[in-house]
Subunit: 320 residues, 2 copies
């Protein structure tokens, strides 16, 4: 939860003066989003979210993110559509920071996804991959496999502090992942952070996806691997194979996987666990005592790494 | 900003099952309110705020607060109306804590009130005092003048740490306030925390009041004194007499003050500054390093105390 930037009523009125959204009728900081400041903004014309981009978002990436959100909304995918000002601009500035106004997306995220939620989430992810087809902009996955070794280079002491002996284990993982990382899988727009907090439901039905600020061009199956890690582990750390099958079945109801994609899932899931372990380990070490936002526990993903390491065939569920 | 209590979708659905509000369509933590956890809750029937009462609110006081909000809404005052469940209950429980669902009140609070805002705020406060007439419940002001000496008894070391020599100054203030505190002024329902964050505007017009969790029965003029301190000081610490006159004129447009009320304003404003100084000093000392919520600066109210101490006739503006 976070609101890092304080917006005065004058600043808000100044921003809205550039849009055709009418005057603000309500404005409240939302305790949501770790990277940015988010505000509920109601105007005479509707309900919106104002996002102020804080320093962790690279401003040069914003056109990719916002044009993607616009593209997806225009292609029938339920994601929040960014609002353009009278000059057609999606990216504005407030208090010296970039910001954007996007429509308010209805729906609730689930804390403890059921198997049924996993199926719906899988179908929603396939829908995202399909709706992204033809999107003309490109952005590399700067948190992808090629980046992990250098990300970890500065974090070995943090890993040892977390758990003695962990640095050597991670080094071995990284070597294996570099050798086994699949090439040539179908690629396109991926969300790259498809966690339960970023997926909305209306009742039991998938209702939309938010937070595209890690989106990039990468293998579709890598996005599935991120989702399997995020949706299909139990609170006790065990992998729920039933939930995983449901997520994949939901996905394949919209976009069937190739044999190569399916075969790659175990190593992709191991790698996806590595990506979140590394960024959490970084944030854990970098967060000053007394910070307003508590970093997420890197041990959660260290345990997922251990599961994938111990059972590299866990995600090969061709046979039930 | 604060969300202290995490609510799962199952817990929310369980709560809503007792109401006729339909299912939730959106649910977001709001970065607002220091004492409680607040959530934007949208259902098939409308928009609401779910407030979960944290330990600083005395549960025995909740019926006063919520019945008052209901009373005010029923008597035409723009405040959020609490929703009753099917059995007529306003106070519910979630995750072992008391909670309530109130309607969403439109409007924006202002960060830097103008003189025009002060006038509107004054009229809104008088409207609150008038709408509260006849409210049958009662609650003493447990942060009123009678409580200050004992509140300060445990805080002298904190005062000295804030500013050497301050403890003796505060002791002298408390003695003066005890001797000069006015008796027999007209009393009734007061908000007792009528700060700009708790007052909504729609454009330039007063639109409503929120956060009745310090409301009690006390002198109406004390409520005005709290508001004068909260609305009419400049960021540089100086008192804006024009803003104060506007607030009073707005108030008197709805409820004229008696001579006794007007004459009491200087000592009431000195006392109202003491009340917020003392609670901020307490919170300052009691907040552990690394807490998620930053305590408000007690020095802001120490400076207001100094203004009232130096110019006890500041608020006697019978003549322009």
């Amino acid at each position: 939860m976070a609101v890092y930037t304080d917006i005065t009523d004058e600043e808000l009125a100044g921003l809205l003066a550039d849009f055709d959204l009418g005057a603000a009728t309500a404005f409240k900081g939302i305790a949501e989003g770790v990277e940015n400041s988010n505000f509920l903004l109601e105007t005479e014309r509707g309900r919106f979210i104002l996002t102020v981009y804080e320093k962790r978002v690279n401003e040069a990436d914003l056109p990719f993110f916002l044009e993607l959100m616009r593209w997806l909304a225009k292609h029938g995918y339920p994601s929040a559509e960014p609002m353009a000002d009278r000059e057609g601009q999606l990216i504005k500035r407030i208090r010296g920071k970039p910001c954007a106004i996007v429509e308010f997306l209805n729906g609730l995220s689930v804390r403890r996804p059921t198997v049924a939620h996993c199926r719906e989430a899988g179908a929603g992810l396939a829908g995202l991959h399909l709706a992204g087809e033809g999107f003309p902009l490109t952005r590399a996955n700067d948190l992808g496999q090629a980046a992990w070794a250098s990300m970890f280079a500065g974090l070995t002491a943090d890993a040892e502090a977390l758990k003695p002996g962990l640095a050597a284990t991670i080094d071995a993982d990284l070597e294996m992942l570099a050798a086994a990382w699949p090439k040539g899988l179908p690629t396109g727009v991926v969300h790259a952070d498809y966690f339960p907090d970023n997926v909305f439901f209306r009742g039991a039905a998938f209702a939309g996806t938010i937070d595209f600020y890690f989106a990039c061009i990468d293998a579709f199956a890598y996005d599935i691997a991120v989702a399997l890690n995020a949706w299909c582990f139990e609170p006790d750390g065990s992998f729920n194979i039933t939930a995983a099958r449901a997520l994949l079945a939901g996905y394949e109801s919209r976009r069937p996987l190739s044999d190569a994609e399916r075969a790659a899932l175990p190593v992709l899931a191991h790698g996806a666990a590595m990506r979140f372990f590394l960024t959490r380990l970084h944030d854990w070490g970098a967060t000053p005592a007394g910070a307003l936002v508590k970093p997420k526990d890197p041990l959660e993903y260290e345990r997922k790494l251990a599961v994938h390491r111990a059972s590299p065939d866990l995600l090969v569920f061709g046979a039930p």
